[in-house]
Symmetry: C2
Subunit: 244 residues, 2 copies
């Protein structure tokens, strides 16, 4: 039996997210169906983490076990010929049998992209969220710096979700302005459900001046979800990289 | 009466081109319908030139006459609120009554983007044409340089189309390689129907080594369409700018 690690890029616009939902298919399902067709057997694809509906990925990783002897290069070609062109398998590698895309991930990086322009560039409409306010980038940077490090991020996860431990380590938050676009890059050892989008929603409210710069530290201290900003729209979020 | 010049950006994927066709609407129709709704009167929008189905524009220009007294900034906002988000009016300006987007254009620049990778980046799939061959860029540049200047480009227009004069001046052709992407930028005082795509199709065949470098000069000399390469796919083409 082999354990194969795939690197996958996708435009999430048309999908229910990584996982299928009741009435909409997920990226996982599309690739699993192709794997079954190619190898003749059902395979279970496990990703570094789920992405929500409308969230994109540049380098998502996922692994599956198979008894197929298909060469890696042929597997990549066969998969890409089978799946629609908004998903691309960029690489396939042999992994040790113990490799698990989620558990073995050391860190993941998400990028959130905001357009502060009045209207959105048609070429970016599926990949940026519009937030038409002047943003104080330095204020956002100071607020972000309070989030770096090991903290209980329970107040930044989707309200209602209570599963599991909520301690995570943010290794870096970087905010870059490029014309009317603002990028928020967050690297962490893991992300709670909706954590990246809630952090971005909070930093944007701070940048706009509707929440104080000190709010991020206050949220970490009080663990009060109600103090955080709204969950930023999915389409601005992209999983950029997973490090092992 | 006012003559208003619009600058327009569009993702052409979903459109029949600038002009509507029998069963599919064009960008022109969408904006004209919005103008009618906003100003209360039908307006005829005249572009710098038509773009084909699937061709994109960063800065197309078009003008229309109106008796409406609506302020330019409000017109832009109203238009963008009315039209779908794959079209964006980026600017509106007062033009002299004699201004004609097509006749007054001094030069237009088209960019053709090719991906030489085996599979196309999902984020670029509507905006690049796949041409998975190793390209000799220097050979393409030499072949392109023969096209610069004032020539009869009749052999580079769509076969069958015979209307009008076919003398045009190419002011510049620039070919740039960036990783697996190749950009072909062509500036000219005007383009015959399909001229940009036929030039690109020919240069790509030369880059791949299936046509000789000397072919471009030969085509100009013989005016024989059969010596040129195929018309490159629409989705790789984008109208970048119109200069007045």
């Amino acid at each position: 039996v082999r354990n194969i690690k795939l690197t996958i890029s996708y435009d999430g616009t048309a999908y229910a997210g990584w996982q299928s939902q009741k009435n909409a298919r997920g990226v996982q399902h599309v690739i699993e169906a192709a794997l079954k067709k190619i190898t003749g057997r059902a395979a279970k694809l496990k990703a570094s983490g789920r992405t929500d509906a409308g969230v994109h990925a540049r380098r998502q990783t996922a692994n599956f076990r198979t008894v197929s002897g298909l060469a890696l290069a042929r597997l990549v070609t066969a998969l890409n010929s089978e799946i629609p062109d908004d998903i691309l398998v960029t690489r396939a590698e042999e992994a040790s049998l113990g490799f698990d895309s989620q558990k073995c991930a050391k860190s993941k990086r998400y990028r959130y992209t905001v357009s502060t322009a009045r209207f959105t560039d048609p070429f970016l409409r599926h990949f940026v969220a519009r937030f038409s306010y002047e943003l104080d980038i330095n204020s956002m940077r100071r607020a972000a710096s309070a989030l770096a490090g090991r903290h209980d991020f329970s107040a930044f996860r989707a309200s209602g979700s209570k599963e599991g431990r909520s301690i995570r380590t943010i290794k870096r938050i970087k905010i870059v302005k490029n014309g009317s676009l603002v990028y928020i890059d967050i690297s962490a050892d893991g992300f709670l459900y909706n954590m990246a989008r809630t952090i971005c929603g909070t930093l944007l409210e701070i940048g706009r001046g509707r929440l104080p710069e000190t709010r991020t530290a206050e949220i970490l201290k009080t663990k009060d979800r109600r103090l955080a900003g709204p969950t930023a729209p999915a389409k601005g979020l992209c999983l950029m990289d997973v490090v092992y």
